[in-house]
């Protein structure tokens, strides 16, 4: 009986117009909201990476070694005093990891000075001297693991492709390379 009431029909029409306008406004605003969310997420991750790198470098400057790496998303315990309060390697949507890589450099073999053979106390040549000398160095890297490729791409875009790269589900930046001595 009231379904054909023209006043009621107008009310439904009003609601439909308002709802469709809201849908249109949302569809226009959504990409901007997503971009802002992504930008904010990348900025937060960049800040975290920089804080972790700064802390690791201060740690090494103080103690002469790198902090002991922990698992993905786990804050290295010995690094904690160097990190800002409340800093966590596990964040919403991504996980940080600090890695220390040992490197081995092969130095050219030491040249044994040639001297005329003497009759007395001619020592046997030390063959180990002829072996190439291995010097151990280290590299430190920070990585961010995430299922969001846009976050990884944002980090790569921010830090550049020179020192960082993306492999599998993680972005990695080698921030220090200490040659062997």
């Amino acid at each position: 009986m009231t379904g054909t009431d023209p006043r009621r029909g107008m009310a439904v029409g009003d609601v439909l117009v308002v709802l469709s306008l809201l849908a249109l406004a949302f569809s226009v605003a959504y990409p901007r909201i997503e971009r802002a969310r992504l930008r904010d997420e990348v900025e937060q991750a960049v800040i975290k990476v920089q804080e972790a790198v700064d802390a690791a470098e201060r740690f090494r400057a103080d103690l002469g070694r790198w902090p002991e790496p922990m698992g993905e998303g786990m804050t290295p315990t010995d690094l904690a005093p160097y990190l800002p309060g409340g800093f966590s390697f596990a964040a919403e949507g991504y996980r940080l990891k600090l890695d220390v890589w040992e490197t081995a450099e092969t130095a050219p073999p030491m040249e044994v000075p040639e001297s005329p053979p003497s009759k007395e106390s001619a020592p046997l040549p030390d063959l180990t001297q002829a072996q190439p000398e291995v010097r151990f160095g280290s590299m430190a890297s920070v990585s961010v693991a995430s299922d969001d490729p846009l976050l990884l791409a944002g980090l790569l875009d921010h830090f550049g492709a020179g020192r960082s790269f993306v492999h599998a589900d993680r972005w990695t930046m080698v921030f220090a390379s200490v040659p062997g001595r």
Partner: protein, 171 residues
């Protein structure tokens, strides 16, 4: 019911005829009201008839913008990882692992059984040992083809991928 209604003394209707008459009056009144709103006066345009098509138009526009947003809505595309960048990342990861394998060999005098033996194995890579010194590390390219690092004859592209951070280090 207002104050006046409560004060007014309504005479009780006790007769059946009276009740039927009042009921018939009420029903007639209701039917008259119903008829008034059911039938529009001739020539009177129905109000709000344009709103449903307008709502449909807005809705369709919203769907189009949501599914295929125009550039002024979508804005500049977010940074994405190109295929060549993924390949460079794979080369860098392999090169980093090769450095680790060399360090492992220099430290222990042998090659690792597999990459899991290294302190930090990279995901998606595998190690094959040819002999006590020579090894290969392989990973799958974005297109699916394998990329192989051979420690006996390493391609210069691997070192180039890690040149910025590896400096003078060479496996």
């Amino acid at each position: 019911m207002n104050e006046d209604d409560r004060d007014h003394q309504v005479p009780r209707v006790s007769k059946v005829e009276e009740r039927e008459r009042l009921l018939a009056q009420a029903m007639a009144h209701a039917e008259a009201l119903d008829a008034q709103f059911r039938v529009l006066p001739a020539g009177d345009p129905r109000h709000g008839a344009w709103k449903s098509p307008l709502a449909l138009l807005f809705f369709l526009l919203a769907v189009v913008v949501a599914v295929a947003p125009p550039s002024w809505v979508a804005g500049p595309p977010p940074p994405s990882i190109q295929e060549q960048e993924l390949e460079r990342g794979l080369r860098a990861a392999i090169y980093l692992q090769a450095l680790q394998v060399e360090a492992f060999r220099a430290r222990t005098g042998r090659l690792p059984e597999d990459l899991a033996e290294l302190p930090t194995p990279a995901p998606g890579l595998s190690l094959v040992r040819s002999n006590t010194r020579v090894f290969q590390i392989s990973g799958r390219r974005p297109g699916g083809a394998m990329l192989v690092y051979d420690s006996a004859h390493p391609e210069p592209e691997f070192a180039a991928a890690g040149a910025a951070w590896a400096g003078e280090l060479r496996p």
